[in-house]
């Protein structure tokens, strides 16, 4: 049974009320009420929660409206998942233009968070590929939004965290691919500077790139990692197959499972699983893009306490010095993350006024929730990110302060004008309520 938690299972959440519409043309949003759409619950923090309002479970709105097999333009209801889309169109050689690290997200969620992926340097965010969508407001009005129709509402809704109303359907451009197999090159690096150099060369040659960085080690080893870059294999005869089988994570792990020691061991093993400096492999799209999807509820690995994910971006100018400082703070706090992901964002202008990605270096890590200690560490990281003009990703956040939010998203006041007065989220209430830190 669906429990409507967020992916990090922190903060703990019990839905107040849930509605689950089945037909996009028949949805009514009776007032007074305060709404928020909830899809597959892959947002980590509280941006997909509303403790006092009504959640609109969108997952029944999963019909395809039309697909043009010549151009790859897909129009579908907002509750359709990337997994479903791939199951349908991957066998015909079509892939989603941008994908995050899980395929279990809805298209509505992809737009509301203006998600990004391993091809950000080439493709920008998901919103860059969206041509139109319909927005249902609590007044009952339905707006078609595109770059020419209601462009303000279009730009406010992309990355708008579901606050501007309910996206009922969306139209976006799929991407023709030569093969579902990714020709992958993995390169070990020893320092952040080395990562930046690899990244700079990679962008022109490779469609996808991402790095894993060891943030559990100390001293000289801090900042080492593996840089992964890849392209779709060029093939005359691609065999598109679909495997979607998942292994369930069998139980809620004891809180002891991920300690600084096991994390350190994991990171050590991960770094050393590759012996040579450069390794070439062919990887299927599923393990390449969605390594963690294989385990159905990997979030339970963190046990009852839940976890926080922290993803930030810092401008290129701040470079390796600031990033190294951040890594050191994490390593010193012995809160090292089990998997830390590093990537550079390109300079494609986001379509949304509240989109998170911006040119720079982005780092994402998980932290098992250890109460005040974890919150304090992340607040310390925020101080560094604020200082250098960076930002933290709301889709993954459950704790950033009001002050940080305003610094990270300078257009929030402009954005506020487009919010549906009868939509809100726990995230939004938190970051717009003044509190001193």
């Amino acid at each position: 049974m669906k429990t409507y938690q967020s992916w990090g299972r922190y903060p703990k959440f019990i839905p107040h009320k849930v509605i689950r519409p089945n037909w996009r043309d028949e949805i009514t949003l009776p007032l007074p009420a305060e709404y928020l759409c909830y899809g597959l619950g892959r947002s980590y923090g509280d941006s997909c929660l509303n403790s006092t309002g009504t959640l609109i479970d969108t997952t029944e709105l999963s019909k395809i409206i039309r697909f043009n097999p010549e151009t790859g333009l897909l129009c579908c209801e907002a509750g359709l998942s990337i997994a479903e889309i791939l199951k349908e169109y991957m066998p015909h050689g079509w892939f989603v233009p941008v994908t995050p690290g899980t395929k279990f997200i809805t298209i509505g969620g992809a737009i509301a968070n203006d998600i990004h992926g391993k091809n950000h340097h080439r493709a920008g965010n998901f919103g860059n590929h969206v041509s139109r969508f319909e927005l249902l407001r609590s007044t009952g009005e339905r707006f078609i939004c595109s770059r020419s129709e209601n462009p303000d509402l279009f730009s406010a809704t992309i990355g708008g965290l579901g606050l501007t109303g309910m996206i009922t359907w969306a139209e976006f451009q799929m991407k023709k691919i030569s093969s579902p197999i990714i020709e992958c090159e993995n390169i070990k690096f020893g320092t952040i500077d080395e990562f930046l150099a690899l990244s700079a060369v990679s962008d022109a040659r490779f469609e996808y790139s991402v790095a894993w960085v060891d943030c559990a080690s100390s001293g000289r080893k801090l900042g080492r990692g593996i840089f992964m870059q890849g392209n779709h294999k060029s093939s005359d005869n691609p065999s598109f197959k679909w495997q979607g089988n998942q292994i369930p994570f069998p139980f809620e792990a004891p809180d002891m499972m991920l300690t600084s020691l096991t994390v350190k061991a994991f990171n050590l093993l991960y770094y050393n699983k590759q012996v040579s400096k450069i390794q070439h492999t062919d990887v299927d799209f599923d393990p390449f893009f969605y390594p963690l999807d294989k385990i159905h509820n990997w979030n339970k690995m963190y046990g009852k306490r839940g976890f926080l994910q922290y993803q930030m971006v810092i401008p290129f100018e701040s470079g390796s010095k600031v990033l190294f400082e951040i890594l050191r703070k994490i390593a010193d706090a012995r809160e090292g993350s089990f998997l830390a992901v590093l990537k550079t964002f390109g300079n494609i202008q986001a379509a949304g006024m509240m989109s998170f990605p911006r040119p720079g270096i982005t780092l994402a890590l998980d932290f098992g929730f250890n109460g005040e200690r974890t919150l304090k560490l992340l607040e310390n990281l925020d101080a560094i990110v604020r200082e250098c003009g960076g930002a933290v990703y709301p889709a993954k956040d459950a704790r950033m302060s009001n002050e940080s939010f305003k610094r990270y998203f300078p257009r929030y006041e402009e954005f506020s004008k487009y919010i549906d007065p009868n939509f809100s989220s726990d995230f939004w209430k938190r970051v717009t309520t003044s509190q001193k830190i």
């Binding site: 089945n22 019909k63 409206i65 039309r66």
Partner: protein, 247 residues
């Protein structure tokens, strides 16, 4: 046998649509019958976009099933031939209301029993002449034993199961498969107001079971599988004890 032309009655129901999606990928053609044109169109477009060859829609009214013959003729005209009739419409009866309102109880019988019988009989004649074909009908585990909380719905579905048993016996000689589908609790719009428990299955899961049962020419199927055993036990409870249980 290959199934290329499918008529679905109650095509906008969640289980019906999920089953249709599985067939759509094989490039089959559909006639979708239902009450609401807008919903039928949404289902038709979805199937089309997922690989169905041709999809057309028909308006029907199970509360007034004399349209069965027309529905059959129009389907045959549209498709040329029919390989599968899939009857999936139904209404979850409000038993408390039915206890006080006999008219309502009988209307529910019309929707859940009479209409399904009418549609199946009309198409059966065609399949019998053609010496092949498939009829798959959504019955329910509720038809396996009468319960105070659900016996109007249960009786209609139980009657339907018996009817299908007889029809199967008749049509077996003509090489026509008749499948009785008995789902347990399914999380669909029909059960939106029923409090959920862990026995509730997703319509996608039920649909997969139906799809493979049709493909394999099964007779009776419980979905998910464990309901066969649950119902076996439920049926074994002696009546003098059963009548005192609140079920």
């Amino acid at each position: 046998m290959n199934i290329n032309k499918i008529v679905i009655i109650g095509a906008t129901s969640s289980i019906a649509h999920q089953t249709a999606l599985l067939f759509a990928r094989e490039g089959v053609s559909f006639v979708l019958a239902g009450r609401n044109q807008n919903r039928l169109d949404a289902c038709a477009k979805d199937l089309q976009a997922r690989g169905a060859k041709n999809v057309s829609t028909l308006i029907m009214d199970a509360a007034n099933p004399s349209d069965g013959k027309l529905l059959f003729e129009q389907s045959l005209m549209t498709l040329g031939e029919i390989d599968l009739l899939y009857i999936a419409h139904g209404s979850l009866t409000d038993q408390a209301r039915a206890n006080k309102d006999t008219g309502y109880a009988l209307e529910e019988f019309m929707v859940n029993f009479n209409s399904a019988v009418g549609y199946a009989m009309t198409f059966a004649e065609y399949f019998e002449k053609r010496q092949m074909g498939n009829i798959a009908v959504l019955s329910s585990v509720a038809g396996d034993r009468g319960r105070g909380s659900n016996y109007i719905y249960g009786a209609a579905k139980g009657g339907l199961s018996i009817f299908l048993q007889g029809l199967r016996n008749r049509l077996a000689k003509s090489g026509v498969n008749v499948l009785t589908i008995k789902p347990g609790f399914v999380d669909t719009p029909m059960t939106a107001d029923v409090p959920k428990n862990p026995l509730f299955a997703k319509p996608e899961v039920i649909a997969k079971g139906i799809y493979s049962a049709i493909k394999n020419g099964k007779d009776v199927i419980y979905l998910p599988w464990f309901w066969r055993w649950i119902m076996l036990i439920v049926r074994m409870v002696p009546e003098r004890i059963f009548k005192k249980m609140s079920l």
